[in-house]
């Protein structure tokens, strides 16, 4: 299996000139928004708000359309990277512009393609529109780059570059204490990723000296090679994990998030919560688990613990918030804890659940931030205490809020449920006690969200709260796709899951191949009851793996 993956990637790399002359759609996903930003920067005049906005919308919609085209063309049977592109960039360092997409990154790309146009449409900056839209589009290009690149160097480049536009979005168009929040955001994330650069370089150079090959930053080659010594790999994993933990954010390094989310402009919050937090969790999957399987297994209990702490802490902190936006921000910490929990369950259910939760959280928290932004626009306050009885004045908005909130809580039938359920199953199979504690987080989520909803939309309405206008049609149209996704993925998640599954299975296989004794401790942890209830699934999986292993052996012999 692993060899086929490698040879596939390599063959597509090698045959780039001849066979792969088709449209380089992945590069386009990065270049289009970037060009859009350039065009906006070069547009004449600062006052023509409409023109710049239209340009931004056009660029982001084209990007979104391209991402949906990729979704359409995606071959769901393939567990490797598709649409791959590769070109040398700096030969002396073995850096190449290589792009690829698989089931893991597919939906994150689509989510990015979807959320950016919505965020641009939904909110106006208020002042300095030109740089605002330019920064947002640069941000989109950077985020796309993180999800698409297969080169460690470019991963780091994109991972860092997204800080700059977000820094300006928060610092220039944010609210309240925005300079503080922006600087804090920038420094936290940069401090986190600083060591990752050392880690990336160590990976590349130590692998090169271990294998005797030239230095390369190609993810697939490095991951399939697994040439690092166990102890070294663990240290390097930690340097990556720190970067991703800050970005996620996990418990002790999360303090930038409430500030950044609260002070950011609405579009910034939507993008931050919807897409940018996923850079960390995606990084764990792609560059943690895939590159350092052994270290991931070794540190899994630690990461799980942090995830669970995040779930509980986020929930409790959210309960105590007086500011609606801050409450949603803390709820993000709890949700991201779930994603980490799923990821480090290191089994198919857990990872799939985590992946699904990434998309779900993007959709529902994005929608929540949009709604909070709309309320703020109308009432110029986000204090829960000052809002009351909005339902009377804005029944439609209350309805939409209800759906989104229930999705966030994880009500069966809506998208949040599927992801949380899979995550918990995965975690339960791997590490039971963590899963049980995490389940408590679900209940807490229901508590704080419902309580907040009750205080904001129910209760006596007074003063300005009575006269608050309801959702406008344009706002409704912006929210509609998100609502549709919330319901659709809740009822019929199969199309999403079946596209993720091959890639996730390949990843789990990769971990199991690389860590020989990985399977045993988990099997020992299971009691008889568990084994029975999951026996069918397990057998099926094991058979699959067995076949694939044979394949890979054959491939190796050839």
């Amino acid at each position: 299996m692993t060899n086929t993956l490698l040879s596939e990637t390599l063959s597509s790399t090698l045959t780039l000139g001849a066979a792969d002359v088709s449209f380089p759609v992945l590069t386009a996903l990065i270049v289009v928004p970037f060009l859009g930003a350039l065009v906006i920067a070069l547009l004449p005049g600062g006052d023509r708000v409409e023109l710049t906005k239209q340009a931004a919308v056009i660029a982001s919609v084209i990007t979104g359309a391209l991402s949906f085209w990729v979704l359409w063309e995606f071959n769901m049977a393939d567990d490797g990277f598709q649409f791959t592109e590769s070109a040398n960039w700096v030969e002396g360092f073995g850096i190449s512009w290589s792009m690829g997409i698989d089931g893991i990154s597919l939906f994150l790309v689509v989510l990015t393609g979807l959320l950016f146009p919505l965020a641009i449409l939904a909110c106006d900056p208020g002042h300095d529109p030109k740089p605002y839209y330019a920064w947002i589009l640069i941000l989109e290009a950077g985020v796309m780059g993180v999800f698409l690149t297969l080169d460690l160097f470019f991963f780091f480049v994109f991972f860092e570059i997204v800080l700059v536009p977000m820094y300006f979005l928060i610092g220039k168009w944010g609210h309240g204490n925005r300079q503080y929040a922006a600087t804090k955001f920038f420094l936290y994330t940069m401090a986190g990723s600083a060591l990752m650069l050392v880690g990336i370089l160590a990976t590349a150079f130590l692998t090169a000296s271990a294998t005797g090959n030239d230095v390369t930053f190609n993810l697939v080659e490095l991951a399939e090679g697994q040439a690092l010594a166990q102890n070294t790999a663990r240290w390097i994993f930690l340097s990556f994990a720190l970067a991703f933990s800050v970005k996620v954010p996990l418990f002790p390094v999360h303090t930038w998030l409430p500030d950044a989310h609260t002070e950011a402009p609405t579009a910034g919050s939507v993008i931050l919560a919807g897409v940018m937090l996923k850079l960390g969790t995606y990084g764990f999957l792609r560059f943690g688990l895939y590159l350092f399987p052994e270290a991931s297994v070794y540190f899994a209990p630690f990461m799980l613990t942090l995830g669970v702490i995040g779930i509980i802490y986020g929930a409790i902190a959210a309960t105590m918030q007086k500011d609606l936006k801050r409450l949603v921000a803390y709820s993000s910490i709890a949700h991201l804890g779930f994603i980490v929990l799923g990821t480090f369950s290191l089994n198919v259910e857990g990872i799939e659940g985590g992946l699904l939760q990434m998309v779900n959280h993007g959709v529902s928290t994005g929608a929540l931030f949009l709604l909070v932004g709309m309320i703020y626009e109308r009432r110029h306050t986000r204090m829960i205490a000052e809002l009351s009885g909005l339902q009377k004045a804005a029944p439609v908005m209350a309805g939409v809020f209800t759906v989104v909130m229930l999705s966030s809580i994880g009500l069966p039938g809506l998208n949040g449920f599927v992801g949380e359920f899979l995550t918990l199953i995965g975690a339960f199979n791997a590490h039971r006690w963590w899963a049980i504690v995490a389940a408590g987080g679900v209940i807490l989520a229901a508590l704080y969200l419902l309580w907040a909803f009750q205080r904001v939309f129910h209760g006596p309405a007074e003063g300005e709260n009575l006269e608050m206008p309801d959702l406008k049609l344009t706002e409704g149209l912006v929210l509609a796709p998100l609502l549709f996704l919330i319901v659709f993925m809740g009822i019929y998640p199969k199309p999403v899951i079946e596209r993720m599954e091959p890639a996730v299975e390949a990843l789990v296989d990769h971990i199991e191949d690389s860590v020989p004794r990985f399977r045993e401790p988990i099997a020992n942890q299971r009691t008889v009851d568990d084994a029975e209830s999951h026996s069918e699934d397990d057998h099926g999986e094991e058979d699959d793996h067995g076949e694939e292993d044979n394949h890979s052996e054959e491939g190796g012999e050839e």
Binding site: V157, A191, L197
Partner: protein
């Protein structure tokens, strides 16, 4: 009668057999130094010329120097072993010296462009600054080409003495003269140490020629290497002063703050480049065999420079001082590459020096223009709302600061990437970690300036209303020369930030070698 006897005595004296000279190799140096002397001559004849003429002439001469390097570069990279020496092995001819010559020449060109508007604004018109710039650059080029410790010392003194004068150039400004005298005293102090080190090396090896020294050390096992090591220590002290490495940095903030901004641009780029040229040629190349003795010292210098530079920069409220401390931290980064003592490390250092020159000249270029008459308005408060007064300047400074912070898609990122790669390749993991930590601390400092430029005016206009806007909205005139220089720096920083390949390739080809005229190649790793 006496004369006759003297003449009679002289008759049998045989002529001295002077060494052969390869004039082509000396061409860049000759263009730069003779250009400076010619300008001095013409200046005394043509007194009424506008001072812009001198700026243009200096720029042209520097560019000519850089262009002369192109055929030489082709010659040296033509075949594998075409590096050589000339003038009794005193002048090295290799890619390394040519690369740094170009860096120094371009620094002069850009600084000369910046200086034009500055001199007019300060009422200091005249050719002297350009003459001294070019002479000083000639010293830098001599250092880059030096294959002999005495030549290196002379080059260092030419470079330094001209810069002492340049720092004190603003004769109507007390700070400038103070900067000059502080730099002078400490510079002379460090030169004495450097020279003492040369004497020790001479005593330990019997020669001042680097090729002879390397051959001697390769052929001889010293039972007592104390003298040699003392020489290392003293030379390193002297050179660390020149490149402003901690703990020999304390002149830097004062001098950078007081000296005229275009001169500071030159100091931060060319002087640093020349200093590192000496460090690499002497330590990495000549004393390569003794690297285990000097590497730990450089390691400590690098760590101290990185940390002290970035942490002390944070507490500064004057932007020029801030950049001075940040240049100390950059020296630390470059030392990280030196410490690796490999070809990769040297290439990384060269790349760093090349791109750092552009970003630092750009930064001080913006400061030159934004400083206002007297070159005094450099406190953080003076930069409030620069984005409103001059969006272009603010944007340019933002690019340079991001580049210095090492944000991707700027040259600064790839420069840091290079030196840290070299450190990791040489297994100096902790040094790499410290370097990255200092990069983050440095980022805070650059963000402070960016916040002030871009965000602070929002607060003002909200708090003070129309009043605040009226005071901040005075636009700044950008002189043509400075504008071009800053634009070039922005372009280089961004274009090669996205596509660093070309400079990286050149830096890799520019490997220093010690080759005697007609002798075998001595290079790193032998």
């Amino acid at each position: 009668m006496i004369i006759q006897t003297l003449l009679a005595q002289q008759a049998p004296v045989e002529a001295i057999d002077t060494p052969a000279i390869d004039w082509a190799i000396l061409a860049p140096l000759l263009i730069m130094s003779v250009g400076g002397i010619l300008m001095l001559t013409f200046a005394s004849i043509l007194k009424t010329l506008s001072s812009s003429v001198w700026s243009i002439a200096a720029t042209m001469i520097s560019l000519a120097t850089a262009i002369t390097v192109i055929p030489l570069w082709m010659r040296v990279t033509d075949t594998e072993n075409s590096a050589t020496s000339t003038l009794a092995n005193a002048v090295a001819f290799d890619g390394f010296s040519l690369f740094l010559t170009v860096v120094i020449a371009l620094s002069v060109a850009l600084s000369a462009m910046l200086a034009d508007g500055y001199l007019k604004r300060e009422g200091l018109e005249g050719p002297e600054l350009y003459v001294l710039l070019m002479m000083s650059a000639a010293g830098g080029i001599i250092m880059a080409f030096a294959n002999d410790l005495i030549v290196l010392f002379i080059g260092l003194e030419i470079l330094s003495i001209a810069v002492y004068v340049l720092a004190a150039m603003h004769t109507r400004k007390l700070e400038s003269q103070e900067a000059g005298i502080k730099y002078f005293v400490l510079g002379a102090f460090s030169s004495a140490f450097f020279l003492y080190g040369i004497a020790m090396i001479y005593g330990a090896t019997g020669s001042t020629n680097l090729i002879d020294i390397k051959n001697f050390l390769a052929a001889t096992v010293l039972d007592d290497d104390a003298l040699l090591l003392a020489g290392f220590a003293l030379m390193l002290v002297g050179l660390a002063f020149k490149v402003a490495a901690v703990p020999f940095h304390f002149w830097t903030p004062d001098v950078y703050q007081g000296a005229p901004s275009p001169v500071v641009a030159y100091m931060a780029s060319a002087v640093k480049a020349a200093g590192f040229a000496a460090i690499i040629r002497v330590f990495v190349l000549t004393f390569e065999q003794y690297r285990t003795d000097w590497q730990p010292v450089v390691y400590v210098l690098a760590i101290l420079s990185l940390l002290v530079g970035s942490f002390l920069a944070i507490v500064q409220t004057d932007v020029k001082r801030m950049l001075a401390y940040s240049s100390i931290s950059h020296a630390g980064f470059i030392l990280v590459g030196v410490q690796a003592a490999t070809e990769r490390g040297v290439a990384a250092v060269l790349f760093y020096l090349a791109v750092y020159s552009f970003m630092v000249i750009g930064s001080f270029g913006v400061l030159t223009v934004a400083g206002g008459t007297g070159d005094n308005a450099h406190s953080l408060d003076d930069y409030k709302g620069l984005s409103k007064r001059s969006p272009l300047l603010a944007f340019a400074l933002m690019i340079f600061l991001f580049s210095q912070a090492g944000i991707p898609l700027t040259t600064g990122f790839f420069a840091k990437f290079g030196v840290i790669s070299a450190a990791i390749d040489a297994r100096s993991f902790w040094l790499a970690v410290v370097a990255m930590i200092s990069a983050v601390v440095g980022a805070y400092l650059y963000l402070r300036v960016i916040v002030t430029m871009f965000f602070a005016e929002d607060d003002d206009s909200e708090e003070d209303g129309a009043d605040g806007e009226a005071t901040t909205a005075e636009p700044i005139d950008i002189p043509l020369g400075a504008g071009i220089a800053i634009a070039v720096c922005v372009l280089v920083t961004v274009v090669f930030g996205v596509w660093p390949g070309p400079i990286d390739d050149l830096a890799r080809e520019a490997i220093p070698r010690l080759v005697a005229e007609s002798a075998a190649v001595l290079q790193i790793g032998n």
